[in-house]
Symmetry: C2
Subunit: 786 residues, 2 copies
Amino acid sequence: MALNNSTLRRTLRAYQIYGANTNVGKTIMSTILGKAFLRKYPGESMHYLKPVSTGPVDEADDRHLAQFAPETKTRCLFQFDEAVSPHIAARSSNPPSDSEIHEQVLAHLTACAKSGSSTLLLETAGGVHSPTPSGSSQADLFRPLRLPVCLVADHRLGGISASISAFESLHIRGYDVDAVLQFDDQKYQNYAYLKAYFEKKGILVLSLPPPPPHGQTQQEDFVLMSEYYAKAGRLDVVDETISKLSEKHTTRIQSLEEMSGNAHKQIWYPFTQHRDVSPQTIMTIDSASGDFFQTHSTTTATTTIPQDTILTPTFDGSASWWTQGLGHGNPSLSLAAAYASGRYGHVMFAGTIHQPALQLASSLLAHLQNHRLQKVFFSDNGSTGMEVATKMALTASFERYRWDVPKKEVGVLGLKGSYHGDTIGAMDCSEPSTFNEKVHWYTGKGYWFDFPQVKMVKGQWVIEPPEGMDEEFGGAVGFLSLAEIFDIQARYESPSGQRYQNYIQDTLERLVKQEGMTFGALIMEPVLLGAGGMLFVDPLFQYTLVQVIRTNPQIFSQSTPPPTSNPQAWSGLPVVFDEVFTGLYRLGRFSSASFLQTCPDISVHAKLLTGGLVPLCTTLASDSIYDAFLGSEKRDALLHGHSYTAHPVGCHVANTSLNTMLEMEAGGSWQEFKNDWREGAESASPESVTDVWSVWSKDFISRLSYAREVESVVTLGSVLAIKLQDANVGYSSTAAVGLQKRLLERSTGFNIHVRVLGNVLYMMASQTSKPKTLRSIEKLLATELL
Amino acid sequence: MALNNSTLRRTLRAYQIYGANTNVGKTIMSTILGKAFLRKYPGESMHYLKPVSTGPVDEADDRHLAQFAPETKTRCLFQFDEAVSPHIAARSSNPPSDSEIHEQVLAHLTACAKSGSSTLLLETAGGVHSPTPSGSSQADLFRPLRLPVCLVADHRLGGISASISAFESLHIRGYDVDAVLQFDDQKYQNYAYLKAYFEKKGILVLSLPPPPPHGQTQQEDFVLMSEYYAKAGRLDVVDETISKLSEKHTTRIQSLEEMSGNAHKQIWYPFTQHRDVSPQTIMTIDSASGDFFQTHSTTTATTTIPQDTILTPTFDGSASWWTQGLGHGNPSLSLAAAYASGRYGHVMFAGTIHQPALQLASSLLAHLQNHRLQKVFFSDNGSTGMEVATKMALTASFERYRWDVPKKEVGVLGLKGSYHGDTIGAMDCSEPSTFNEKVHWYTGKGYWFDFPQVKMVKGQWVIEPPEGMDEEFGGAVGFLSLAEIFDIQARYESPSGQRYQNYIQDTLERLVKQEGMTFGALIMEPVLLGAGGMLFVDPLFQYTLVQVIRTNPQIFSQSTPPPTSNPQAWSGLPVVFDEVFTGLYRLGRFSSASFLQTCPDISVHAKLLTGGLVPLCTTLASDSIYDAFLGSEKRDALLHGHSYTAHPVGCHVANTSLNTMLEMEAGGSWQEFKNDWREGAESASPESVTDVWSVWSKDFISRLSYAREVESVVTLGSVLAIKLQDANVGYSSTAAVGLQKRLLERSTGFNIHVRVLGNVLYMMASQTSKPKTLRSIEKLLATELL
């Protein structure tokens, strides 16, 4: 992995030369730029790199440079003789893969930087989207480098359109076009139009006289071109452009260096004690692609990064707060966002419908495979979606039971360590904790169960009862595999299943009958409680909770509830699953409720919903919930809404993301991971075995659980959580912070940015993370901990 | 205004032929398609339209069609002799404007549709982005039609890249590309690559043998081409493509017709009593551009729309729930969204910084011109932003005053009719009302003042005291102009200013000292209370409220608050302005606080922030608020955050929007409106006069206030609110619903979609609405009401 190479260095000005079309003069422009840089920086090196070249060797672009700018150090990485697109030219030979090209380019860039102050021009092949030897688009292949672009415009008839479209293809991939270079052809006068067009966007425009027509002989050609280059070299505009390009390089670095200082002055960060923040602790993100940020940090003193390096790749180890699914800078998502924006912008969503919203609703209803759900309500984030869910559930239960208590005294049932968001209503669904104790209007409304936890300890999967509750739950129990723990039906019938049933029923009866509490909903995150510290709940306990509540409605209301003929109607209490974090493949399945073999009455989805691009949330509900809001008055309705409800950009991006992930699953993209986890899990029933897996390797998880500093490990889907030994347990623990810092400063290969929750350090991959990346992270963690 | 023309009709298949470049064979492909449509539908008409043609008349594309597909009815709207780009060719003559071309095309489409079942091919000029005669891009000019596109690919060297980039330029403008048409050139074999590429996107691909090379003579040319067309006509693939294109037309209509029924089954709408909803009341939005939706409604019986018309333009009269600023389908915003997506995706925002977020923070801090504000906190919507603001304010005041009351009993001060969002914390900031009475966990926390209102009644601007409060506030007072009302300094010194001061101070002292209430913040929407019913608050009252609170800290705490050396520190109580609806030019100014000549300590901005594209919110605060959260413990911090905090797409779109609006203001885009309102406003001081204006004409507002059904009218910036006479006042009123329905069904010119709030019908323009559109809406309203 060549990721340890930086794409931005103080001493290396690197530019990528793209053409608006083939044959627009990229090489001539490169030659002019190359000669001009040499004039401006006579003591420095000038490099020219053609990663992929097609056509006869003696006509190759690097030869042209060598001929007319002989001081330039030219290099071509892959040469194919046929003068056609690289993907055709490479057919007969063994074509290099995209990552091979990428790595060689990075290696060359590094070598150039090491040679001292220099400039590099990287000339692409053909037009912006010309296929690479492997058949992908070169604009996508070179995107992770994100070198500033000099775009050579098309001066021919039709060239205005071609140049603008080429620019747009680069722009929507997050490239910065520093300059547009063009020949001022007098017939079509594209140059005048394009100059105005691009200068309005703040892009440098260099217009030059067209090169001479070809001579009769090679010799004549040489003379003509030499004269042309000599003339071009005397043009002030060329030197001005070179100065401005250099300036942009300097300004970009300066801006990166100043950014954390300015952020420190102006930004109030979420979930951050600012007394601990300084410009040195703020990481500047220049851009991102795949699982990696390109970051700049002002704390270079403690690292091994050379001073010259401005940007380093940093693994996005929290999957950008659990949102990232399809990689940063994913061109499909950019196109989806732009299409919906172009087709609709935002359009108001009360009493109207648009295709992306309807498709998303249908798709979720179809793929969650929850026969109870029929309706979809849209909001902006997990917190708002959970407020909607809570309003739905409380109104539905109140409409049925008509308790004689003040409305605000109807509480919820949940689990200790639960977390549903930061707006007051969502906070009130969780028990008092560090998160909310200082929030003025927070009042936890309900009761939260202690629960047995799943952990890997010293190579063994165990279920541990809450501290001091061995009597209620029995002692810790070991399992042969993680899958076995999910064999819920078998376990439900077992003594521990019976124990859970008794405990839950007894507790509920005590709370309602003896303590006089009123409950209107059960609200839980299935399987994994995220912000609470990545707590892995025994799935049987959650299953049993739902079962007991659904089959014992008499606990919640003394009066007999009205009979219902609808078998899908909620029973006992409305069951709300907060799948904001756990759903949509975060734990390896479309629905995390499926792990519990349970269909909630209300289901909330956000984060991965848009694959990690923009905020959007959906709250799905059953008709039996929905019906509680039907009435003759408007005030009977769910009077909740946000301005950007079901915004088309979010919905269309979500459709694109969900389809992509569904296709990945159907296409077996995660088979390698599944196979790893299937071995040794034969003791559980076939279905649950197949789908209980992690992207983190089984062997690594086991080994890690033996580490001296490690108390226990959990994993599922793309989540890995390591609980460290620490006397000072919980949110205020600092045990994990040390490890967190070490990972961020390693810089062998790449840095790793992770978040900690007290003494738990977690890692989260995206749904497109490459095994190679994951294995090297495991290696790093092993080095640190084993 | 030719907007009454529909772009989608049952009996008219219309396709737009775009070329990936110039000279790729658009006209030949059009001829092949035209002949094939004629074969398939022998009884129907075949139309060919070339809106703009350059080059000699006898070589013009419509001539080619007339020659080789003589049954086709060809038409060229604008012909220029020079074979260059239209913007060059049209220089010498008087070039048609974009709207002229647009209107003529629409008129032609309508005429074709009226002639009976038919097909129309609209061939564009050159490449996708070829300039129009006026110099804009034709892809933007023709976008409002949003005809399905047949894109002719480029079969030449470099054509893969050109074709994909051309596709992307169309796609990001919201075009649907139905088919890609291409010649299967054997040398470069673009066709194979492009076929796979576009079929993967669900696009039809038609590959045909290349046309013959030109003959020696015109006659020979004719023979060769005739043979070519005859051969092409025998190809099954051509007929299959025609069938599939026709099918797409039918499917699109069918899908539009089914959408409201499916929405009715699957969507739970915000703020909607679903008992009143049926498929017939749901409006299907196919797309939108500028201020107009293209809508389909299944309730055609009551309207004058011909059955044939599937889509009609509908004015977005609520500015899509008050969000819309720069027009739907704005290409700058699409490009901004895509760029940020391509460069970053979403990147986590705790302890990191990226350029779009920092730029947005700096820009807001600079342009709000509020010397108190130093820090920016990001969240997702107005409701979350207001929860953040409330948490900030309450903690700051509690940290200073350390009241000996339970935290949840610290309330806020506000105005009756206020609204701050639908999450519980935001709801708790408003007084009990229809919105919240049925919400279980809602508990209004605070006190809300009655206030005098500004209205236009029978041609006169008046300030009316709340009902029955003439004693406290004095009787109704008339003003010569709206601007005069904003002459706050003069009015503050007047007897009415003194009356406000006394009333407010007395009330506060009574609440705190006699009733024992505790207050931690003042929270208000400046000038206009939106959801409360577009209530126009006397700005002097809001100003006085702030003044009294700031200068009387002793009211709020018996113990003397600690002295502060910081002149920017909050005093009395933190003042929070909810500018979610009123700010960022909704009322004509960047900051709506400026109308009150007041700098709040906390300021919240959303809706127009992204110009109407995606959710984003910022809560700005003073350092004196921020400092209250500094502490040695993490729990002292503001423990609030959302996953997509400061998502780069939203931030970059916001930067683009704000810059655009700032440029519009600096460039005098609204001068016409300002001039209209300046006349007759000379009595007020110069500064306030200049900037109190509306996009709705002064004369119209005055006339409307005399209408029999109208109780009063208010307007400011882009907002117009008409309060109708109705015995049943308030949210449950239905007086405005009748007018609302009539506007939606007029269909002379276009329909108007508006929202009502009880007996108030409001209209909201975007910041780019054209005076022509606004005046024709005024005419319509005048017809209805006068």
